[in-house]
Amino acid sequence: MIVVEDLAKTYQTRGGRVEALSQINFQIDPGEFVVLCGPSGSGKTTLLMTIAAMLRPTSGAVYLGQQNIYEMTGRSRAAFRADNIGFVFQMFHLVPYLNVRENVLVAAGAVRKKDAKARTEQLLERLGLQQRAWHRPAELSAGEKQRAAMARALLNQPKLILADEPTGNLDPENANSVLTHLRDFQSDGGTVVVATHGPAAKKFATRTVYLNNGRLEKLS
């Protein structure tokens, strides 16, 4: 379960203080597929990064399970992230000098799971990337890149996948494929949180959270 309590995040910029998030309160139950919606600059990614234990809030708390993740040490938070959270990004963030197989395996470097290689092969097969296993990111289509990123996110069998505009660079067919894979993960008991401003993800959502100007506008 994810609990977000009175969350606020303020950035100090040269132009002054920017309130990215303010008074955010909500809860996500295990097995949910939550879509964070809102226009650009509404604070979706900031909220996602805060839930991901990567961006310390100015005030408030984020509980993953029973733990306030920002009361953990940086090292523990990193270990927690490696064990429990998978990431999918709009820009894929594949390591350019590694092939697809290695890009998936790189996720195992922080947790050192014994079955990482076998599981990589399973994921490549499941996501239709076996023929592309030796290719580098520059040699892949956008859809293949995002599927490689999906495989990387799934490798450590996380409880939660956080996806930031995962379909933003994809055509409708590939977007649907990626969202379907995320729904499969949810069907297997995982929790999915997707930040997007497009409509495609909404049909997969069990719940939608609307953000505007850093404030929670609506829960549905």
């Binding site: 900031t46 990064m49 990567m54 790189v106 470097g109 930031d164």
Partner: protein, 383 residues
């Protein structure tokens, strides 16, 4: 699983130009250093060789001795305490070597004026132990000059008596055409007894090795050095070509003393800039690794490991290039004539393999710290 070492190698291969430019920077710094030292050490060896080939060129005599008389006869008319030898022999950071103490005296032997010379075993200052340049004369034995041996039919194995002391003739010397033909040489202690001058020396001879270099005139430095140790002694030096070589070496050292730090700093900045460019290129990769749960230490090792590899390869390449340059151009710069004196300086290779990687890591330290402290959220946020 992907080890950090594998990530380093893969990244090097991917960004070959950045990597090769880094290696080139270290190679340049090391090559410059090695080339200079290879040639400079060869120059030092050549100077020492030249000095040795000339024999003892430094003469220390008693302060009150008549220099004119000494230069004409080769025998000082005054003596000095034997402790002077111990004082000179105990000095560090000095510019002389092969200390040979003698006691000379003109005596009448069987109606012939001869020179008796007592010779102490050659000694060297601390840390400058070298094979002796002259033979050692054992106590109770004598080496007899050609004229004396001819005139008195002295032969090897005979016993001769000098001032009441019996000495066994160890050798009769071949004709030299000089003062040695009318000289009998024995041990210093025997000569002191025969001449009734216990604990005294006539002269200390040495080789000015020109090995201690500091700014200034080498002869003036030498006189100052010995003058501080033996205030009551006179120092005479046989001028030599080696002195000019020493001055030239001083000048080249001065030039390199300015150039080496300049080249090393320039190469350090070069590596630093390359490392900064590399970190900037890899911001998102670093952010991703942090998001995947990698700690600061493996990320630091990604950059430190790369710097170490650049340093080691640069050291090896730099040593090879520097040695070739030193061997090729060193003889012209340092006026080295004996090619056999030029050789690779393997001790510098070991130093290079330790210092160059350290240098590369230090040069890339700031960029590495930037990489480690990147806020992963900031690099991955693309809203």
């Amino acid at each position: 699983m992907m080890g950090i070492a594998k990530l380093i190698v893969k990244e090097l291969w991917h960004r070959k130009v950045n990597f090769l430019l880094g290696v080139l920077a270290v190679t340049t710094a090391v090559a410059f250093f090695v080339a200079f030292h290879t040639a400079a050490r060869a120059s030092e060896r050549e100077t020492a060789r030249l000095m040795l080939s000339m024999g003892y060129n430094l003469h220390v005599i008693a302060g009150e001795a008549d220099v004119g008389g000494y230069l004409m006869t080769g025998v000082p008319d005054q003596t000095m305490p034997q402790e002077y030898l111990d004082k000179l022999a105990s000095q560090k950071k000095i510019s002389y070597n092969h200390l040979l103490a003698t006691l000379d005296g003109k005596i009448d032997w069987r109606g012939m004026q001869i020179i008796l010379t007592g010779i102490a075993p050659e000694v060297c200052p601390p840390g400058q132990k070298k094979p002796p340049m002259v033979f050692e004369i054992k106590a109770g034995t004598a080496y007899v000059g050609h004229q004396i041996a001819e005139r008195f039919e002295v032969e090897k194995g005979q016993t001769i008596v000098l001032g009441g002391k019996s000495l066994k003739v160890e050798r009769c010397l071949a004709e030299s055409g000089g003062v040695d033909d009318v000289r009998i040489q024995c041990s210093l202690s025997d000569a002191q007894e025969i001449l009734n001058l216990p604990g005294r020396l006539s002269e200390i001879q040495a080789v000015d090795c020109l090995c201690y270099l500091e700014d200034g005139d080498p002869v003036a430095i030498l006189r100052k050095q010995i003058g501080e140790i033996l205030p009551g002694a006179q120092v005479l030096q046989v001028k030599s070509l080696a002195e000019a070589r020493a001055k030239q070496r001083q000048m080249i050292r001065k030039i390199f003393a300015v150039m080496i730090p300049f080249v090393v700093i320039a190469c350090g900045v070069w590596i630093g800039v390359l490392a900064i460019m590399n970190v900037r290129d890899r911001q998102q990769e670093i952010g991703l690794l942090r998001a995947l749960g990698y700690n600061a230490s493996p990320i630091m090792f990604l950059f430190v490991g790369k710097a170490l590899l650049i340093g080691v390869l640069g050291a090896v390449a730099g040593f090879a290039v520097g040695t070739v340059l030193g061997l090729e151009f060193g003889p012209n710069i340092f006026k080295i004539t004996a090619q056999t004196i030029l050789q690779p300086e393997w001790s510098i290779f070991v130093q290079s393999c330790i210092l160059a990687p350290l240098f590369a890591v230090v040069a890339g330290f700031v960029p590495t710290m930037i990489a480690v402290t990147y806020d992963p959220a900031a690099t991955l946020r693309e809203e």
